[in-house]
Amino acid sequence: MKFVVAVKQVPDTAEVRIDHEKGTLIRDGVPSILNPFDAYALEEALKWRDTLGGSVTVVTMGPPQAESVLTEAVSMGADDGILLTDRAFAGSDTWATSHTIAEAVRKITGVNAVFCGKQAIDGDTAQTGPGIAASLDWPQVTFVGRVREMTEENMVCERYVENGVQVLRVELPAVITVLKDANTPRVPSLRGKMKARNFKPVIWGASDLNLASEETGLEGSPTKVVTTATPEARAGGSVHRGTPQELAVIMADLLLGREDHR
């Protein structure tokens, strides 16, 4: 089986502080890490490779220093890594990013499944996984809490949704996005770390993927960030006491804006 895991380098949000005046993140001096959700996607791919045989290729798109997340993935057991880096990719939104990664998956050829984390902890969009599937025109299963079984033809996934679990059989090739319920990511092995020390990723740019400038980067991105702002801190709530009947009246008044009970 040939698996691809799409990963992202993100700022460690546990370390990020907010510039309250500008309403932006202070990224200076913040360490970059592998997006935590991607570790579950990677573990799931590694687990199935270990069971069924084959290979796991990690792909990331980002600046040259994003190589470090590929190295980390190799130390955990990934077979190889591809870094998609090019000035032409700068400013990509999730549409352009999905499209670019999908082109890389096409170029790899013969891929049976793409594993993504549920979402990245910096953008929190959860769009790139589904975007890759759409761009490849492959089926997708999002929010996978467990992969029950897998063959060359299909896999059976448990999709954790708000009010229960959907069990879905999906034809391969497909894209899945993985939840942290799926597994416990392995600790890197000594041999993995030794291999990772000499690891150099394959580097592909826009021309390697035959991407025109309007397909990727800022130009290929329909989303434009108009402004970012910090939401106003919520005022404290209010406490009301009384019998259920009295409280129902107060609540109805509040909801209808009839009277200020504060």
Binding site: R186, V187, P188, S189, L190, R191, G192, K193, M194, R197
Partner: protein, 386 residues
């Protein structure tokens, strides 16, 4: 202090640190309480190749040597001395095969140990033969292509959990220490069973159990080295493994120092942090200095072993005796700094104090170590080497 560790050794420390954080610290108190062997954690260590480091590449290992084993044992011990000894005891059990085994024995028994698929244990101690190791009563009698073992081994670390045992037994009791021989015994051999599991003061996650041999027939090719070499095999094994006990002691002490430092920076009395009091500061300074000295001595001996120098029994004993005495003192002081909280099971330092005690006792008591050191000194002096 920077010990100029190689990238490989730094990687081992990093991996062990991550395993300690993710897999050991969350469960150590429970395993201690329940006297439960950390099988799952052994699996995690195996997956991370940590059982490979003391086994040569030719037999499925990564061949990283004594210092690597010390670094791994120290880092695991920093989180839990009981789990760390369950790991390190494998190296002790494999040592007779590594040092004296034939190529066939190494090929047969080392690869599954390197992968962590099987665990190993060393069996020397008996109820009447502790420090006086030559007093063992377990007998091995040759019978054609077999040896027949009879006797009981006591306090065997990894007993009941390991699949491969290296056992010292008497082949010729009339010759005393020169009548002992070393054997490899596999779990499941008819006549080999386990006795009671001990309920210990510390290192409670580790398994300590009796091994019982009743007309246990093992193939003659499982004899390590020659008949009569058993005592030599055991002594060389312990010379090689003692830096591991020293590393365990350094790790336990470091773990206690870490806890004491954090606590002293948070605990407030008389309106200020207790680490602002000179009485506490001097304790912390002495604890840190002695841990560093113990680590430096331990690493120096491990490097001496890795360099291939043949003779290091004195130095190996020095590292074990010094580091274990440091561990006892530092963990006791850590409990003192945490005061009443330190005495409670809510905090990990009382466990560290209980775990530290065994390092002064096993693999040769500290009194025996001092005898080893002194007799080496006296021999060297007599030979005009000093």
């Amino acid at each position: 202090m920077d010990y100029m560790l190689s990238e490989d050794l730094a990687a081992i420390r990093e991996i062990c640190g991550e395993i300690a954080q993710k897999h050991i610290i969350p469960v150590r108190a429970q395993l201690d309480e329940e006297n439960r062997f950390p099988r799952e954690i052994m699996g995690v260590l195996a997956k991370s190749d940590l059982f490979s480091i003391y086994i040569p590449e030719a037999y499925g290992g990564t061949g990283m040597g004594s210092l690597a084993l010390c670094v791994a044992t120290e880092e695991l011990s920093r989180a839990c001395g009981g789990i760390a000894v369950s790991y390190a005891a494998n190296a002790l059990g494999a040592m007779p095969i590594l040092l004296f085994g034939t190529d066939e024995q190494k090929k047969a028994f080392l690869p599954p140990l390197a992968s962590g698929e099987k665990l190993c244990a060393f069996a020397l101690t008996e109820s009447e033969a502790g420090s006086d190791a030559a007093g063992i009563k377990t007998r091995a009698v040759r019978d054609g292509n077999h040896y027949i073992l009879n006797g009981t081994k006591q306090w065997i670390t990894n007993g009941g959990e390991a699949q491969i045992y290296t056992v010292i037994a008497m082949t010729d009791p009339s010759r005393g220490a020169r009548g002992a021989s070393a054997f490899i015994v596999e779990e499941g051999t008819p006549g080999f069973s386990y006795g009671k599991k001990e309920d210990k003061m510390g290192i409670r996650a580790s398994a300590t159990r009796e091994l019982i041999f009743e007309d246990c027939r093992i193939p003659a090719e499982n004899l390590i080295s020659r008949e009569g070499m058993g005592f030599m095999v055991a002594m060389k094994t312990l010379d090689n493994s003692r830096p591991g006990v020293a590393a365990q002691a350094v790790g336990i002490a470091q773990g206690a120092l870490d806890e004491a430092l954090v606590y002293a920076s948070q605990r407030r009395q008389f309106g200020q942090r207790i680490d602002s009091f000179q009485g506490i500061q001097f304790m912390l300074a002495d604890m840190a200095t002695s841990v560093e000295a113990a680590r430096a001595l331990t690493y120096a001996v491990a490097r001496m072993i890795d360099s291939g120098l043949g003779k290091f029994e004195k130095e190996s004993a020095m590292a074990k005796v010094f580091a274990s005495d440091v561990a006892m003192k530092v963990t006791t002081d850590a409990v003192q700094i945490l005061g009443g909280y330190g005495y409670m099971k809510e905090y990990p330092v009382e466990k560290m104090m209980r775990d530290a005690k065994i390092t002064q006792i096993y693999e040769g008591t500290n009194q025996i170590q001092r005898m080893v050191i002194a007799s080496a000194l006296i021999r060297e002096t007599a030979a005009g080497k000093r």
